[in-house]
Amino acid sequence: MDAPRLWVRSVSVLVPGPEREEWVEEWDGELAAHGGTMAQAWGALPDAWCLRTEGWTMEGMLRDVRAAGKALARKPFFTALAGITLAVGIGANTAIYSVVDGVLIDPLPYPESGALVSVNHTAPGLGVPVVPHSEGSYLHYLERFRALSSFAVFDEDNVNILTAGAPEQVGGAVVSHAFFDVLGTSPLLGRGFAVGEDRVGAEPVAVLGYALWQQTFGSDRGVVGRSVEMDGVARRVVGVMPEGFAFPTAAGVWVPMSIDDADPDLGSFNVVGIGRLAPGATVEGANTEMQDLLLRFSDAHPDEISRDVLEQAGFRADMKPLKDLYVSDVRQALWVLLGTVGFVLLIACANVANLFLVRAEGRQREQALRTALGATRADMVRHYLAESLTLALGGGVLGLALASVGVRGLLKLAPVAVPRSSEIGIDASVLLFTLAVSVGAGLFFGLFPILSYRRPDLSGALKEGGRSSTGGKERHRARSVLVVA
């Protein structure tokens, strides 16, 4: 049999039984008369789907959902047990997915964040995955980079601020002048740092974070231009960053570096490099350029970092997407965790499917009555699916509530600090994930009673109170499969 005809037979499973044979014959006849290409045969799928869903009206579906709700309400213990089992499974998946989404999937919250790169080195020979910059290497690269449109370095440091009240210690960062330009974020008030403000002898200035501006300075717009004492130095506030800007994570205030152009520190590699790719530049191309510049830096300063040292340490340029700098340590662990909770959900679904099968055995009289009243197999499938999907969506809503409460607790219990934790939360993509998982779970555990459904022996089931249905063996087999699972 050729592929187009095989395809038609494959999709014919969607066509209701009484119409299937003639449907296949019609498609065979048309394909034979028109060349029978695979492109033509694809059309059988939408046609089969239309036939399957022809009787599915919104009104009918609502009726199914109402009936499912009533049936579930009649068995509160069963419904509560199955619903809580699903809520735990779906909630665990939602919680972990919200972490994966916030940490690994969501882009960094900066304009054109795909162009942001970590501009540092690595030295596997020394067992050091990230070697940042010294003042000297920063100046060397800054003058020569062509693949980056902007390049900056920073170091995290606490800052003691003395205001009218008591001294206050806040998280801060010492940065080079182009720091805010690299991140593409303009201050809410005032300006960022100007060229030259990160050099020795420049006027001491500072940029405040939004939270510090609100809490310590009472959102006073007049703070720009005012002198504030920080670590014993009077600094003029030149700007306030917008709400939500927090890079590096704990920074609430930014002050410029103080580099001596004439005598920069060459050997202390302690300031982290970030950059923005120039239009058209790639990470690979920029990395090649950086490696070339590194060798030139080594040749210019052999006493600090000779070629021998580079070779022995495996010291080389390591430019990569900025997100990788922060999440590479937890990436694998998070995916493994998501896989693990996926298995937890699978086990939850298997348990609920088992509960459904046990319940189905006790409903043979009801099935027989429905069949006697004219319900077709398709009606029974819709009935089962409406129940399983209603239960799964209910479990999903409960799971979402559990996840939104539980994810914060999980982060506190984490053995290591989770990067980008402020960006973790329930957003649209997490809601979509929960919906997809709930529907998937509902279809999964709803499938077993459907697969094991056989048209009941009407007279036996009705006379003997549902003990003689022919579906028993199939259900027993399905339950055995679930126990193995």
């Binding site: 014959e25 006849g29 059309g43 939408p46 789907w49 239309c50 022809e54």
Partner: protein, 107 residues
Amino acid sequence: MGTFRMTQITALVLRAVAAGHRHGFDVMEACGLPSGTAYPALRRLERAGLLRSRWENTAAAHAEGRPRRRTYELTAQGRTALPDAEAKLAQVRRLLEDPSPVQARGA
């Protein structure tokens, strides 16, 4: 069976069958409709009694070395409904040709 309502799609399909396109694929080609639209329209028209389908003679088809085909044709009721279908299509044509229907109504 629900009540039948003539739509642009069913009108198009009814007119195609009336014009002599008597098989599913021919109707799809004549109307420029995909299978998921043309076949459901054919079925709705048949259920409403405007079309009837027949299977061609099995022996004749096998003699030509191919499976038999289903043929659609208008019923008397379908012929009666044809002006209604034409009116529906004319209405669509007018809407497509009128460059400023909204302004005309508001004027």
